[in-house]
Amino acid sequence: MPDGPSALQLVLSGDPALFAIVRLSLYVSLSAVALAALIGIPLGAWIALTRFPGRQGIIVLLNALMGLPPVVVGLAVYLALSRSGPLGAFGLLFTASAMIVAQTVLVTPIIAALTRQTIEDLWLEYRDELTAMNLGPLGRIMALIWDARFSLVTALLAGFGRAAAEVGAIIIVGGNIEGFTRTMTTAIALETSKGDLPLAVGLGLVLISIVIAVNALAWSVRRAGERLAG
Protein backbone atom coordinates (compact mmCIF):
# COMPACT_ATOMS: atom_id res chain seq x y z
CA MET A 1 0.00 0.00 0.00
CA PRO A 2 1.35 3.46 -0.85
CA ASP A 3 1.48 6.07 1.89
CA GLY A 4 -1.02 8.93 2.04
CA PRO A 5 -4.68 9.24 2.90
CA SER A 6 -7.08 6.31 2.67
CA ALA A 7 -10.01 6.19 0.25
CA LEU A 8 -12.55 7.08 2.90
CA GLN A 9 -10.41 9.99 4.13
CA LEU A 10 -10.20 11.30 0.57
CA VAL A 11 -13.98 11.27 0.24
CA LEU A 12 -14.78 12.60 3.69
CA SER A 13 -12.18 15.37 3.61
CA GLY A 14 -13.58 16.66 0.33
CA ASP A 15 -10.29 16.19 -1.51
CA PRO A 16 -10.30 18.82 -4.30
CA ALA A 17 -8.81 16.55 -6.96
CA LEU A 18 -11.38 13.85 -6.25
CA PHE A 19 -14.26 16.28 -6.31
CA ALA A 20 -13.10 17.86 -9.54
CA ILE A 21 -13.30 14.40 -11.08
CA VAL A 22 -16.77 13.77 -9.65
CA ARG A 23 -17.97 17.16 -10.86
CA LEU A 24 -16.68 16.57 -14.39
CA SER A 25 -18.29 13.11 -14.48
CA LEU A 26 -21.66 14.51 -13.47
CA TYR A 27 -21.34 17.38 -15.93
CA VAL A 28 -20.58 15.00 -18.82
CA SER A 29 -23.26 12.43 -18.03
CA LEU A 30 -26.02 14.94 -17.16
CA SER A 31 -25.29 16.94 -20.33
CA ALA A 32 -25.42 13.75 -22.38
CA VAL A 33 -28.75 12.74 -20.82
CA ALA A 34 -30.19 16.22 -21.45
CA LEU A 35 -29.16 16.10 -25.12
CA ALA A 36 -30.34 12.50 -25.47
CA ALA A 37 -33.71 13.50 -23.99
CA LEU A 38 -34.06 16.39 -26.46
CA ILE A 39 -33.52 13.93 -29.31
CA GLY A 40 -34.88 10.68 -27.88
CA ILE A 41 -38.24 11.77 -26.45
CA PRO A 42 -39.56 13.46 -29.61
CA LEU A 43 -38.09 10.66 -31.75
CA GLY A 44 -39.65 7.93 -29.60
CA ALA A 45 -43.01 9.72 -29.52
CA TRP A 46 -42.93 10.22 -33.27
CA ILE A 47 -42.22 6.52 -33.95
CA ALA A 48 -44.98 5.57 -31.49
CA LEU A 49 -47.63 7.64 -33.28
CA THR A 50 -46.63 7.32 -36.93
CA ARG A 51 -47.12 4.43 -39.31
CA PHE A 52 -44.60 4.16 -42.12
CA PRO A 53 -42.95 1.35 -44.10
CA GLY A 54 -40.01 -0.17 -42.25
CA ARG A 55 -41.33 0.95 -38.86
CA GLN A 56 -41.03 -2.53 -37.33
CA GLY A 57 -37.42 -2.70 -38.48
CA ILE A 58 -36.68 0.70 -36.88
CA ILE A 59 -38.20 -0.47 -33.60
CA VAL A 60 -36.13 -3.67 -33.58
CA LEU A 61 -33.01 -1.65 -34.41
CA LEU A 62 -33.76 0.90 -31.67
CA ASN A 63 -34.20 -1.85 -29.10
CA ALA A 64 -30.95 -3.47 -30.24
CA LEU A 65 -29.11 -0.14 -29.98
CA MET A 66 -30.05 0.02 -26.30
CA GLY A 67 -27.31 -2.55 -25.77
CA LEU A 68 -24.72 -0.76 -27.89
CA PRO A 69 -21.19 -1.65 -26.67
CA PRO A 70 -19.61 1.56 -25.29
CA VAL A 71 -16.17 0.83 -26.79
CA VAL A 72 -17.70 0.59 -30.25
CA VAL A 73 -19.47 3.93 -29.76
CA GLY A 74 -16.19 5.37 -28.51
CA LEU A 75 -14.38 4.12 -31.57
CA ALA A 76 -17.02 5.47 -33.96
CA VAL A 77 -17.08 8.88 -32.27
CA TYR A 78 -13.26 8.88 -32.21
CA LEU A 79 -13.15 8.30 -35.97
CA ALA A 80 -15.76 11.00 -36.57
CA LEU A 81 -13.98 13.57 -34.40
CA SER A 82 -10.37 12.78 -35.29
CA ARG A 83 -8.52 15.34 -37.36
CA SER A 84 -9.25 13.53 -40.65
CA GLY A 85 -12.82 12.59 -39.68
CA PRO A 86 -15.99 14.34 -40.91
CA LEU A 87 -16.27 16.40 -37.69
CA GLY A 88 -12.50 16.84 -37.24
CA ALA A 89 -12.62 20.58 -37.94
CA PHE A 90 -14.30 21.23 -34.57
CA GLY A 91 -11.23 20.00 -32.68
CA LEU A 92 -13.31 18.23 -30.06
CA LEU A 93 -11.28 15.06 -29.58
CA PHE A 94 -9.95 14.66 -26.00
CA THR A 95 -12.30 17.29 -24.59
CA ALA A 96 -15.30 17.02 -22.29
CA SER A 97 -17.49 17.82 -25.32
CA ALA A 98 -16.25 14.71 -27.10
CA MET A 99 -17.25 12.64 -24.07
CA ILE A 100 -20.68 14.27 -24.05
CA VAL A 101 -21.11 13.43 -27.74
CA ALA A 102 -20.13 9.79 -27.15
CA GLN A 103 -22.46 9.35 -24.18
CA THR A 104 -25.29 11.09 -26.04
CA VAL A 105 -24.94 8.49 -28.80
CA LEU A 106 -25.01 5.78 -26.16
CA VAL A 107 -28.03 7.07 -24.23
CA THR A 108 -30.29 8.37 -27.02
CA PRO A 109 -31.43 4.88 -28.16
CA ILE A 110 -32.26 3.97 -24.55
CA ILE A 111 -34.45 7.03 -24.06
CA ALA A 112 -35.98 6.79 -27.54
CA ALA A 113 -36.82 3.08 -27.19
CA LEU A 114 -38.33 3.44 -23.71
CA THR A 115 -40.27 6.54 -24.80
CA ARG A 116 -41.59 4.71 -27.86
CA GLN A 117 -42.87 1.83 -25.76
CA THR A 118 -44.40 4.06 -23.08
CA ILE A 119 -46.11 6.45 -25.50
CA GLU A 120 -47.40 3.65 -27.73
CA ASP A 121 -48.99 1.81 -24.80
CA LEU A 122 -50.60 5.02 -23.60
CA TRP A 123 -51.79 5.90 -27.11
CA LEU A 124 -53.57 2.55 -27.41
CA GLU A 125 -55.40 3.38 -24.20
CA TYR A 126 -56.15 7.05 -25.02
CA ARG A 127 -56.69 6.88 -28.78
CA ASP A 128 -60.49 6.76 -28.76
CA GLU A 129 -60.85 9.46 -26.11
CA LEU A 130 -58.39 11.88 -27.72
CA THR A 131 -59.91 11.31 -31.16
CA ALA A 132 -63.41 11.90 -29.79
CA MET A 133 -62.15 15.17 -28.31
CA ASN A 134 -61.09 16.19 -31.81
CA LEU A 135 -57.51 16.79 -30.66
CA GLY A 136 -54.88 17.58 -33.31
CA PRO A 137 -51.51 15.81 -33.60
CA LEU A 138 -49.65 18.35 -31.44
CA GLY A 139 -52.31 18.25 -28.72
CA ARG A 140 -52.16 14.46 -28.72
CA ILE A 141 -48.39 14.33 -28.38
CA MET A 142 -48.39 16.92 -25.58
CA ALA A 143 -51.11 15.04 -23.69
CA LEU A 144 -49.33 11.71 -24.05
CA ILE A 145 -45.93 13.05 -23.02
CA TRP A 146 -47.45 14.83 -20.03
CA ASP A 147 -49.38 11.78 -18.85
CA ALA A 148 -46.31 9.57 -19.37
CA ARG A 149 -44.08 12.01 -17.50
CA PHE A 150 -43.31 9.73 -14.57
CA SER A 151 -42.35 6.82 -16.83
CA LEU A 152 -40.29 9.18 -18.96
CA VAL A 153 -38.37 10.45 -15.94
CA THR A 154 -37.65 6.82 -15.09
CA ALA A 155 -36.32 6.37 -18.64
CA LEU A 156 -34.06 9.41 -18.20
CA LEU A 157 -32.71 7.97 -14.96
CA ALA A 158 -32.03 4.65 -16.69
CA GLY A 159 -30.10 6.59 -19.33
CA PHE A 160 -28.17 8.47 -16.65
CA GLY A 161 -27.31 5.23 -14.87
CA ARG A 162 -25.92 3.83 -18.08
CA ALA A 163 -23.90 6.97 -18.85
CA ALA A 164 -22.49 7.38 -15.34
CA ALA A 165 -21.29 3.79 -15.20
CA GLU A 166 -19.72 3.40 -18.63
CA VAL A 167 -16.01 3.75 -19.27
CA GLY A 168 -15.41 2.32 -22.74
CA ALA A 169 -16.64 5.25 -24.80
CA ILE A 170 -15.28 8.17 -22.82
CA ILE A 171 -11.85 6.67 -22.27
CA ILE A 172 -11.37 6.48 -26.05
CA VAL A 173 -12.64 9.96 -26.94
CA GLY A 174 -11.60 11.71 -23.70
CA GLY A 175 -8.26 10.13 -22.95
CA ASN A 176 -8.39 10.42 -19.11
CA ILE A 177 -6.32 13.65 -19.12
CA GLU A 178 -5.83 14.81 -15.53
CA GLY A 179 -7.78 17.96 -14.68
CA PHE A 180 -9.37 17.97 -18.10
CA THR A 181 -11.08 14.74 -19.13
CA ARG A 182 -10.50 12.51 -16.12
CA THR A 183 -13.84 11.12 -14.91
CA MET A 184 -14.74 8.67 -12.17
CA THR A 185 -14.83 5.62 -14.40
CA THR A 186 -11.73 6.45 -16.47
CA ALA A 187 -9.76 7.24 -13.31
CA ILE A 188 -10.80 3.96 -11.70
CA ALA A 189 -9.87 2.04 -14.86
CA LEU A 190 -6.47 3.66 -15.29
CA GLU A 191 -5.34 4.77 -11.81
CA THR A 192 -5.80 1.29 -10.39
CA SER A 193 -3.15 -0.06 -12.73
CA LYS A 194 -0.86 2.85 -11.85
CA GLY A 195 -1.18 2.07 -8.14
CA ASP A 196 -3.28 5.02 -6.92
CA LEU A 197 -5.63 2.71 -5.10
CA PRO A 198 -7.07 5.18 -2.56
CA LEU A 199 -8.26 7.51 -5.34
CA ALA A 200 -9.72 4.59 -7.31
CA VAL A 201 -11.50 3.14 -4.28
CA GLY A 202 -12.72 6.58 -3.16
CA LEU A 203 -14.18 7.25 -6.60
CA GLY A 204 -15.68 3.77 -6.60
CA LEU A 205 -17.48 4.58 -3.36
CA VAL A 206 -18.81 7.85 -4.78
CA LEU A 207 -19.93 6.13 -7.99
CA ILE A 208 -21.80 3.42 -6.10
CA SER A 209 -23.47 6.05 -3.93
CA ILE A 210 -24.59 7.92 -7.04
CA VAL A 211 -25.98 4.74 -8.62
CA ILE A 212 -27.89 3.92 -5.43
CA ALA A 213 -29.20 7.50 -5.23
CA VAL A 214 -30.35 7.39 -8.86
CA ASN A 215 -32.21 4.13 -8.30
CA ALA A 216 -33.80 5.46 -5.12
CA LEU A 217 -34.88 8.52 -7.07
CA ALA A 218 -36.35 6.38 -9.86
CA TRP A 219 -38.26 4.38 -7.29
CA SER A 220 -39.64 7.50 -5.58
CA VAL A 221 -40.66 8.98 -8.93
CA ARG A 222 -42.60 5.84 -9.72
CA ARG A 223 -44.29 5.91 -6.31
CA ALA A 224 -45.13 9.60 -6.66
CA GLY A 225 -46.50 8.93 -10.12
CA GLU A 226 -48.78 6.21 -8.86
CA ARG A 227 -50.04 8.42 -6.08
CA LEU A 228 -50.53 11.62 -8.11
CA ALA A 229 -51.58 10.25 -11.47
CA GLY A 230 -52.89 6.78 -10.67
Binding site: E125, Y126, D128, E129, T131, A132, M133, N134, L135, G139, A143, D147, G225, R227, L228, A229, G230
Partner: protein, 240 residues
Protein backbone atom coordinates in the same frame (compact mmCIF):
# COMPACT_ATOMS: atom_id res chain seq x y z
CA UNK B 1 -82.32 25.49 -23.38
CA UNK B 2 -80.44 25.43 -26.63
CA UNK B 3 -81.52 25.96 -30.20
CA UNK B 4 -81.72 22.79 -32.30
CA UNK B 5 -78.24 22.14 -33.56
CA UNK B 6 -76.91 21.57 -37.04
CA UNK B 7 -75.61 18.17 -35.80
CA UNK B 8 -79.14 16.78 -36.02
CA UNK B 9 -80.69 14.91 -37.58
CA UNK B 10 -78.01 12.24 -37.97
CA UNK B 11 -79.00 10.11 -40.95
CA UNK B 12 -77.68 6.67 -41.82
CA UNK B 13 -78.31 5.75 -45.42
CA UNK B 14 -77.57 2.16 -46.46
CA UNK B 15 -74.64 1.99 -44.05
CA UNK B 16 -72.60 -1.21 -44.00
CA UNK B 17 -69.48 -1.90 -41.97
CA UNK B 18 -67.30 -4.87 -42.83
CA UNK B 19 -64.00 -5.81 -41.22
CA UNK B 20 -61.88 -8.84 -41.89
CA UNK B 21 -64.46 -10.43 -44.16
CA UNK B 22 -67.20 -10.13 -41.53
CA UNK B 23 -70.19 -7.85 -41.90
CA UNK B 24 -70.60 -6.06 -38.57
CA UNK B 25 -73.42 -3.75 -39.62
CA UNK B 26 -75.60 -4.46 -42.61
CA UNK B 27 -77.50 -1.86 -44.63
CA UNK B 28 -78.47 0.40 -41.74
CA UNK B 29 -81.08 3.10 -42.40
CA UNK B 30 -81.72 5.25 -39.37
CA UNK B 31 -82.51 8.83 -38.43
CA UNK B 32 -81.55 10.22 -35.06
CA UNK B 33 -83.68 13.32 -34.50
CA UNK B 34 -84.01 15.79 -31.60
CA UNK B 35 -86.20 14.59 -28.76
CA UNK B 36 -86.25 12.01 -26.01
CA UNK B 37 -83.37 9.54 -25.66
CA UNK B 38 -82.90 6.96 -28.39
CA UNK B 39 -81.85 3.64 -26.87
CA UNK B 40 -80.08 0.96 -28.90
CA UNK B 41 -80.81 -2.50 -27.59
CA UNK B 42 -79.72 -5.92 -28.71
CA UNK B 43 -77.62 -8.80 -27.49
CA UNK B 44 -73.84 -8.63 -27.15
CA UNK B 45 -72.14 -8.46 -30.52
CA UNK B 46 -75.23 -7.15 -32.33
CA UNK B 47 -73.37 -4.00 -33.44
CA UNK B 48 -74.46 -1.33 -30.90
CA UNK B 49 -70.97 -0.02 -30.16
CA UNK B 50 -70.08 0.01 -33.84
CA UNK B 51 -73.20 2.02 -34.62
CA UNK B 52 -72.33 4.57 -31.91
CA UNK B 53 -68.78 4.92 -33.25
CA UNK B 54 -70.19 5.57 -36.72
CA UNK B 55 -72.61 8.20 -35.42
CA UNK B 56 -69.80 9.85 -33.45
CA UNK B 57 -67.70 9.94 -36.65
CA UNK B 58 -64.90 7.76 -35.26
CA UNK B 59 -65.43 5.10 -37.89
CA UNK B 60 -66.19 5.44 -41.59
CA UNK B 61 -68.76 3.14 -43.21
CA UNK B 62 -67.57 0.57 -45.73
CA UNK B 63 -70.64 1.39 -47.82
CA UNK B 64 -73.43 3.94 -47.58
CA UNK B 65 -73.26 7.39 -46.03
CA UNK B 66 -73.86 9.23 -42.82
CA UNK B 67 -74.86 12.89 -42.62
CA UNK B 68 -75.02 15.29 -39.69
CA UNK B 69 -77.58 18.03 -40.26
CA UNK B 70 -77.44 17.14 -43.96
CA UNK B 71 -73.65 17.34 -44.27
CA UNK B 72 -71.02 14.64 -44.54
CA UNK B 73 -67.71 14.72 -42.64
CA UNK B 74 -68.76 17.07 -39.84
CA UNK B 75 -66.00 17.19 -37.18
CA UNK B 76 -67.22 16.16 -33.70
CA UNK B 77 -67.29 19.66 -32.22
CA UNK B 78 -70.78 19.31 -30.79
CA UNK B 79 -70.82 15.56 -30.29
CA UNK B 80 -69.46 13.69 -27.32
CA UNK B 81 -69.24 10.03 -26.37
CA UNK B 82 -68.79 8.01 -23.21
CA UNK B 83 -67.18 4.71 -24.17
CA UNK B 84 -68.10 1.40 -22.62
CA UNK B 85 -64.77 1.47 -20.77
CA UNK B 86 -63.79 5.13 -20.57
CA UNK B 87 -60.06 5.83 -20.33
CA UNK B 88 -59.23 8.13 -17.44
CA UNK B 89 -56.35 10.50 -18.09
CA UNK B 90 -53.55 10.11 -15.54
CA UNK B 91 -54.54 13.31 -13.81
CA UNK B 92 -56.93 14.45 -11.12
CA UNK B 93 -60.70 14.41 -11.68
CA UNK B 94 -60.71 18.19 -12.09
CA UNK B 95 -57.75 18.06 -14.49
CA UNK B 96 -59.60 15.52 -16.66
CA UNK B 97 -62.39 18.07 -17.05
CA UNK B 98 -59.97 20.94 -17.63
CA UNK B 99 -58.33 18.90 -20.40
CA UNK B 100 -61.70 18.40 -22.12
CA UNK B 101 -62.61 22.08 -21.77
CA UNK B 102 -59.29 23.10 -23.31
CA UNK B 103 -59.67 20.57 -26.14
CA UNK B 104 -63.13 22.02 -26.83
CA UNK B 105 -61.66 25.52 -27.04
CA UNK B 106 -63.62 26.86 -24.07
CA UNK B 107 -62.00 30.14 -22.88
CA UNK B 108 -59.63 29.69 -19.98
CA UNK B 109 -61.47 32.22 -17.83
CA UNK B 110 -64.52 29.93 -17.71
CA UNK B 111 -62.69 26.75 -16.76
CA UNK B 112 -62.89 27.03 -12.96
CA UNK B 113 -66.61 27.78 -12.99
CA UNK B 114 -67.42 25.06 -15.53
CA UNK B 115 -65.35 22.45 -13.66
CA UNK B 116 -67.18 23.26 -10.42
CA UNK B 117 -70.58 23.04 -12.19
CA UNK B 118 -69.76 19.75 -13.89
CA UNK B 119 -68.40 18.14 -10.71
CA UNK B 120 -71.53 19.31 -8.88
CA UNK B 121 -73.78 17.87 -11.60
CA UNK B 122 -72.22 14.41 -11.31
CA UNK B 123 -71.76 14.61 -7.54
CA UNK B 124 -67.97 14.47 -7.54
CA UNK B 125 -67.14 17.90 -6.10
CA UNK B 126 -65.60 16.30 -3.00
CA UNK B 127 -63.25 14.23 -5.18
CA UNK B 128 -61.99 17.02 -7.48
CA UNK B 129 -58.35 16.50 -6.58
CA UNK B 130 -58.38 12.68 -6.49
CA UNK B 131 -56.38 10.93 -9.24
CA UNK B 132 -59.06 9.90 -11.75
CA UNK B 133 -57.74 6.35 -11.99
CA UNK B 134 -58.07 6.02 -8.23
CA UNK B 135 -61.85 6.58 -8.41
CA UNK B 136 -64.30 3.70 -8.14
CA UNK B 137 -66.01 2.31 -11.25
CA UNK B 138 -69.18 4.31 -10.66
CA UNK B 139 -67.24 7.49 -9.95
CA UNK B 140 -65.16 7.02 -13.10
CA UNK B 141 -68.33 6.54 -15.14
CA UNK B 142 -69.76 9.78 -13.73
CA UNK B 143 -66.49 11.62 -14.37
CA UNK B 144 -66.54 10.33 -17.95
CA UNK B 145 -70.07 11.73 -18.29
CA UNK B 146 -68.95 15.10 -16.95
CA UNK B 147 -65.96 15.07 -19.28
CA UNK B 148 -68.20 14.42 -22.28
CA UNK B 149 -70.56 17.21 -21.16
CA UNK B 150 -67.58 19.57 -20.86
CA UNK B 151 -67.64 19.71 -24.65
CA UNK B 152 -71.10 21.30 -24.42
CA UNK B 153 -72.45 18.74 -26.89
CA UNK B 154 -75.71 18.81 -28.82
CA UNK B 155 -75.64 15.00 -29.00
CA UNK B 156 -74.31 12.68 -26.32
CA UNK B 157 -73.56 9.03 -27.13
CA UNK B 158 -73.41 6.59 -24.23
CA UNK B 159 -72.15 3.04 -24.63
CA UNK B 160 -73.56 0.81 -21.88
CA UNK B 161 -72.94 3.49 -19.26
CA UNK B 162 -74.10 1.35 -16.34
CA UNK B 163 -72.90 -2.08 -17.50
CA UNK B 164 -70.59 -2.83 -14.58
CA UNK B 165 -72.22 -0.72 -11.87
CA UNK B 166 -74.17 -1.69 -8.77
CA UNK B 167 -77.81 -0.49 -8.39
CA UNK B 168 -76.96 2.67 -6.45
CA UNK B 169 -74.28 3.76 -8.91
CA UNK B 170 -76.62 2.84 -11.78
CA UNK B 171 -79.34 5.08 -10.36
CA UNK B 172 -76.87 7.97 -10.00
CA UNK B 173 -75.82 7.63 -13.65
CA UNK B 174 -79.41 7.28 -14.91
CA UNK B 175 -80.42 10.41 -12.96
CA UNK B 176 -77.64 12.34 -14.67
CA UNK B 177 -78.72 11.01 -18.08
CA UNK B 178 -82.29 12.19 -17.41
CA UNK B 179 -81.03 15.63 -16.34
CA UNK B 180 -78.92 15.84 -19.50
CA UNK B 181 -81.86 14.92 -21.70
CA UNK B 182 -84.04 17.55 -20.02
CA UNK B 183 -81.46 20.15 -21.04
CA UNK B 184 -82.30 19.35 -24.66
CA UNK B 185 -79.12 17.40 -25.30
CA UNK B 186 -79.96 14.48 -27.57
CA UNK B 187 -79.01 11.26 -25.81
CA UNK B 188 -78.25 8.15 -27.88
CA UNK B 189 -77.50 5.22 -25.64
CA UNK B 190 -76.63 1.55 -26.08
CA UNK B 191 -77.61 -0.98 -23.47
CA UNK B 192 -78.38 -4.66 -23.22
CA UNK B 193 -80.33 -4.02 -20.02
CA UNK B 194 -84.04 -3.95 -20.85
CA UNK B 195 -84.95 -2.40 -17.50
CA UNK B 196 -82.69 0.50 -18.24
CA UNK B 197 -84.14 0.86 -21.72
CA UNK B 198 -87.66 1.00 -20.24
CA UNK B 199 -86.62 3.63 -17.71
CA UNK B 200 -84.87 5.99 -20.12
CA UNK B 201 -85.96 5.44 -23.71
CA UNK B 202 -88.20 7.70 -25.75
CA UNK B 203 -87.42 5.67 -28.82
CA UNK B 204 -86.02 2.16 -29.25
CA UNK B 205 -83.76 0.85 -32.00
CA UNK B 206 -83.27 -2.88 -31.77
CA UNK B 207 -80.23 -4.48 -33.40
CA UNK B 208 -79.66 -8.14 -34.05
CA UNK B 209 -76.69 -9.57 -35.92
CA UNK B 210 -75.78 -6.22 -37.41
CA UNK B 211 -79.24 -5.42 -38.69
CA UNK B 212 -81.97 -3.17 -37.35
CA UNK B 213 -84.87 -5.52 -36.62
CA UNK B 214 -87.29 -3.01 -35.15
CA UNK B 215 -87.56 0.69 -34.30
CA UNK B 216 -90.34 2.62 -32.66
CA UNK B 217 -91.60 4.67 -29.74
CA UNK B 218 -90.55 3.01 -26.51
CA UNK B 219 -94.11 2.60 -25.18
CA UNK B 220 -95.39 0.72 -28.22
CA UNK B 221 -92.19 -1.31 -28.58
CA UNK B 222 -92.48 -2.66 -25.06
CA UNK B 223 -96.27 -3.16 -25.21
CA UNK B 224 -96.54 -4.66 -28.65
CA UNK B 225 -93.28 -5.67 -30.35
CA UNK B 226 -93.79 -6.22 -34.07
CA UNK B 227 -91.07 -8.76 -34.84
CA UNK B 228 -90.37 -12.23 -33.49
CA UNK B 229 -86.81 -11.20 -32.53
CA UNK B 230 -88.05 -8.26 -30.45
CA UNK B 231 -90.73 -10.44 -28.85
CA UNK B 232 -88.17 -13.09 -27.95
CA UNK B 233 -85.73 -10.50 -26.61
CA UNK B 234 -88.44 -8.91 -24.44
CA UNK B 235 -89.52 -12.32 -23.21
CA UNK B 236 -85.98 -12.83 -21.94
CA UNK B 237 -85.17 -15.59 -24.39
CA UNK B 238 -81.57 -15.90 -25.50
CA UNK B 239 -81.13 -14.38 -28.93
CA UNK B 240 -78.15 -15.84 -30.73
Amino acid sequence: MRAPSSELPIKFDGVTVAAGGVTILDDIALTLAPGLPTVLIGPNGSGKSTLLRLAMGLLAPSRGRITWGGLEHVPPLKRAIVFQRPAMLRRSAAANLRFALRAAGIPHAEHARRIAELLELVGLHALADRAARRLSGGEQQRLALARALARDPAVLFLDEPTASLDPIATKAVEDIIRAVSERNIKVVMATHDLGEARRLAGEIVMLHRGRIVETGAAASFFDAPQTPEAGAFLAGELLI
